[in-house]
Subunit: 262 residues, 2 copies
Amino acid sequence: MPSNRPKTGSPQAPSLAARENSAASPWRASRERLRDREVKREAVIRAAARAFNRKGYHNTSLDDIAAALEVTKPTVYYYVSNKEQLLFECFVAGIEEIRAAFRDTRSLATPARERLQAVLRHYGAAVASEFGWCMVRAEDQDLSPDMSAHIKAMKSEIDQGIRRLLREGIEDGSIHPCDPKMTAFALAGALNWIAHWYRESQSMTGAEIAEAFIAVFDIGLRPRPEISNEDPTCRPVRRQSKSSSSRPGARRSARSKAPSRR
Amino acid sequence: MPSNRPKTGSPQAPSLAARENSAASPWRASRERLRDREVKREAVIRAAARAFNRKGYHNTSLDDIAAALEVTKPTVYYYVSNKEQLLFECFVAGIEEIRAAFRDTRSLATPARERLQAVLRHYGAAVASEFGWCMVRAEDQDLSPDMSAHIKAMKSEIDQGIRRLLREGIEDGSIHPCDPKMTAFALAGALNWIAHWYRESQSMTGAEIAEAFIAVFDIGLRPRPEISNEDPTCRPVRRQSKSSSSRPGARRSARSKAPSRR
DNA sequence: TAGAATGGCTACTGGTGAGTATGGTCCACC
DNA sequence: GGTGGACCATACTCACCAGTAGCCATTCTA
């Protein structure tokens, strides 16, 4: 195995994405004697994620990232070794969420379809998160073979996890027989794509989008005589601000004004 | 409206993607007195698409593209005005396929669900084509506001087309009531994502992948008592080379030990 | 209080790649 | 047999940006 495999910062840390989302530069706090290298390092990574998200990896210079933090480029290099590593760390921060989702559901005793849905909800939330762009778009071509291999392995792990849940669901009867491989591709693709169009300004959260997608995948397009429009799983997604009338086809009963949890 | 909207080369040409796929440089032919500016221009665009596809937009220099054609950079600039336009042209070449699919199906008298499926089949083929990467990945951030707006408009047109088919399907009863917006996102996302993982070496064509996805979307994950496993729509996807027998549906096929490519 | 970390800055290097100035060659047509 | 234009190459310019050298200030430690 390669001796210089990329360091993941603190691999066992609870997850960068999970922390509270302070947009302010911690350098100000540093001046107030509060210094914590790890906090700053994470701020660098988070700033990078935001910049990549907004302008793309190649259109973001380390000067941009430094400027966002009100420091200079060498300061950024004080916390990360290079730009590539920055992308890698963002990727890891994003995917860690999904891996956690798999760990959490593994112990549940529910049918596989429900466990799969729980995973997909987390998946959607992760993709719509600050690190979603990096997780989804980190390209082989932009990374060294080492890191590329790492990323590929982690992606494959997620893919295999979904396939496994599908197989289990087919076995326990909670999922209609299908080709696990292609189905996993379709599910992951739909969710990954969220990173391409989702902006935080959107009226829905990532989990809500995932919920809507799950409904689509669950029911399917072909009419289901056994499920009425009243079924809550095919309710229209709720919208917060704009055209509140989402006029979903059919009677109107389907509206049901999804009880706004949260 | 902006005076300098990007020229699309020959907008009414049958579609660049449709032509035969000659990998050879036409400059050799040129030496043999056969000169056709348009043919060369398309060769440039196709070479660009191939390079973008393989290495990404930012990792591809115009020198690379020129080298692939056995010419020099100024020659490339003789046919296109800049790199950005190259990306734009590739995008247009890809999306034109999908627009054609909508035009073709518009006249059909079949239920909307079938028309939608026809469109999605074309969609999948287009995304897996040489120009798929460019179509799917052309980023706002890499393009001038002008071109970005153009691309956004074309993408929106496709999106709206899918939503319309969904609404029609809900109305004519061929599609189970759903939220057209989110469903369109899910469908398009799954198909778009093909561009991220598909390589021509794959054993399936784009249309075959689309077919498999359609089956997933059509039936849904939740078990359907009214559809047996024998139903052809939930057959495992056929593969060409390896297990050549398409061995449709049925018991053990569900496992299908998805031949771990590579 | 020396001196060692620590954290940050200014000011650079070196490479890459988009785009161009200029000029040569071949052909068509007069 | 010369002239103009289409086509393509050599050989640049210029800007941007990743990454670094070296120095300064502050804080911690002995």
